[in-house]
Symmetry: C2
Subunit: 237 residues, 2 copies
DNA sequence: CTACAATTCGAACGGTGTTCGTGAACGAAC
DNA sequence: GTTCGTTCACGAACACCGTTCGAATTGTAG
C-alpha cells in the first residue's frame, strides 16, 4: 500500500518530504517562470504545481483559483513599470513615458497581457501605477472625471495592443516571420476586388505598416493624449 | 458490439442516418445559437456537434479548428454593423455612429468580443466595416497613414470595451449586481491608505462612475476622434 | 504527550480541443 | 450492374484543463 515503503539508509533525505513550505510567493515565482519560458497558455495549475514538485490541489490552499493567480502575475509584472514624479510642465510626455514603460513590461513578460485583459487591475503594484497616472493627469489640469476615464481608456489601449502582439506572434516568431506575415496580409488587402473595397485596396500599404516597431502605438498615444489635452479648461493652459 | 443493432420495421427512418449534410453554415448557425443562449464559454466543439446531433470529429471536415469557428462567428455578427454612406460634413459623427453600432452588436452577441479580441478581422463582413470607416476618415481628410492606424486603434478600443463588459458580467448579471459590484469597488478605492494613494482615494467616485451606461465609452470616442481631427492638415478644414 | 488547526496532496469529476482509423455513401468508369 | 476511389461522418481515444474531496501529515499550543 505504501508507495515509498522505507529507506533504511541515509535518513537525512527521505526522497522528497524535505517539505519546503509552499506559499503565494513561491507559487507566483514558479508561474512567472513558466509564463516567461513557455507563454501564457502553458501556465496551468497543473504545470505550476509540477514545477514545485507537488500536485495541483496543493496550490488551492494559497490561491483561490486560476483567475487570482493571473491577477498576481499581472501585479508582479506591474512592479516593473517606471513611475515618474508628476511635473505639470511635462505631463503629456510623462504620461506617454509611463504608457511606453507599461507596454515594454508587457512585451518583456509575454502573456501578462493575456492575463490582464478585461480585468480592472486592483493589485498593490497596479494601484501604484494608477495613482501615478492620476497624479500626472491632475498635474496637467485634466478634470476629475476625464482623468478617471482616461486611465481606463489608456489602460485598455495598452493592454489591447500588447495582447494583439502576443496573440499574433504566439511565441518564437522571428523578424522574418513577422515580415512575411505582414507581406501576406498586405497582398491580401491589395488583391481584393477594387470596386467593392476601393479604400482598403488603395491603403493596403498603410493598413499593414508599423506592425513591427512602435509607430502604431505612438500614433495611438499621440491621438489620445492630444484629445485629452483638448479637455483641459482653456483658462488653465 | 453494434450499439444500434438493427431496426427491422419502418425502414424509412433508420434512427438518424437521414444525413442532412453538414456544412460551414449549419455549423456557424448552431454555434451562434449556443453563443446567444449560453454565452461564449459554452461554445465548444462538442456542444456545437451535439446540437447538430453528431460528434465533434465531424466538424473538423468543415472548420479547421476552434479559432476559425470563432472568426466565423465574429464575421457573422459583423454583418449587423450599420454602415453609413460617407458624408464629409458629418464625418466625426458618422464615425462615432459606426463605433456605437459596433459596440451594440457586440453587446447583443455577448461573447463575440471574446472571439474578436486580438485578431485582425479579415472576414467579408468585417472588411465591409473597415472599408466604410476608411471612406469616412478619408471624407474627413484624415491623412492616409493616420486613417489606417486610426482604424486599428478604434477597433481595438471598441473590442476591448466590449470584452471588459463581457468578462465582468459573465452572464446574467442584473443591474443590481453591477451596482453592488461597483459600490464595492468604490468602497475599496475610497478606503485605501490616503497617504499612499491620495488621488485614487479622492477620485474613487470618478474612477467607478459610468460603469453602467455609455458615458465612459462616449468619453473615449470623444477623446480619440478629437485627437484624430487634430491630425487633419489645417488648410483642409 | 496530547489535541487541534493548518497544510499537503492522491484521486477523481467533468469538462476541453483535437486526431485517428473505420466504415458508409456516392459519383464515375468499366 | 458492378466495382472502384474519393469524400465525408463519426465513435473512440489522447492529452490536457480547473477544481473538489477527504485522508494523511505536519506544526504548534496547551
Amino acid at each position: 500500500m505504501n508507495p515509498s515503503p522505507w529507506q533504511p539508509l541515509s535518513p537525512e533525505k527521505p526522497a522528497r518530504p524535505a517539505r519546503t513550505p509552499l506559499n503565494r510567493e513561491r507559487i507566483v515565482d514558479a508561474a512567472m517562470r513558466i509564463l516567461l519560458d513557455q507563454g501564457y497558455e502553458a501556465v496551468s495549475m497543473r504545470k505550476v504545481a509540477q514545477s514545485l514538485e507537488t500536485g495541483p490541489a496543493s496550490l488551492y490552499a494559497h490561491v483561490a483559483n486560476k483567475r487570482e493567480l493571473d491577477q498576481l502575475l499581472v501585479d508582479r509584472a506591474a512592479a516593473d513599470i517606471e513611475l515618474p514624479v508628476a511635473d505639470p510642465a511635462r505631463w503629456q510626455e510623462q504620461l506617454k513615458d509611463m504608457l511606453r514603460s507599461t507596454l515594454e513590461v508587457m512585451r518583456a513578460n509575454p502573456g501578462v497581457a493575456r492575463a490582464a485583459i478585461g480585468q480592472v487591475p486592483l493589485g498593490e503594484r497596479a494601484l501604484d501605477s494608477t495613482e501615478a497616472m492620476l497624479a500626472i493627469l491632475k498635474a496637467g489640469r485634466v478634470p476629475d472625471q476625464a482623468a478617471a476615464w482616461a486611465i481606463d481608456m489608456l489602460h485598455l489601449y495598452v493592454t489591447a495592443v500588447a495582447f494583439e502582439e502576443s496573440v499574433q506572434g504566439a511565441s518564437g516568431w522571428t523578424v522574418d516571420d513577422v515580415e512575411s506575415f505582414v507581406a501576406g496580409m498586405r497582398h491580401h488587402f491589395a488583391s481584393l476586388p477594387a470596386d467593392r473595397y476601393p479604400f482598403t485596396v488603395a491603403l493596403a500599404g498603410a493598413l499593414t505598416a508599423g506592425a513591427l516597431g512602435d509607430e502604431r502605438f505612438e500614433f495611438g498615444l499621440q491621438v489620445m493624449i492630444s484629445g485629452l489635452a483638448a479637455m483641459v479648461p482653456p483658462e488653465e493652459r
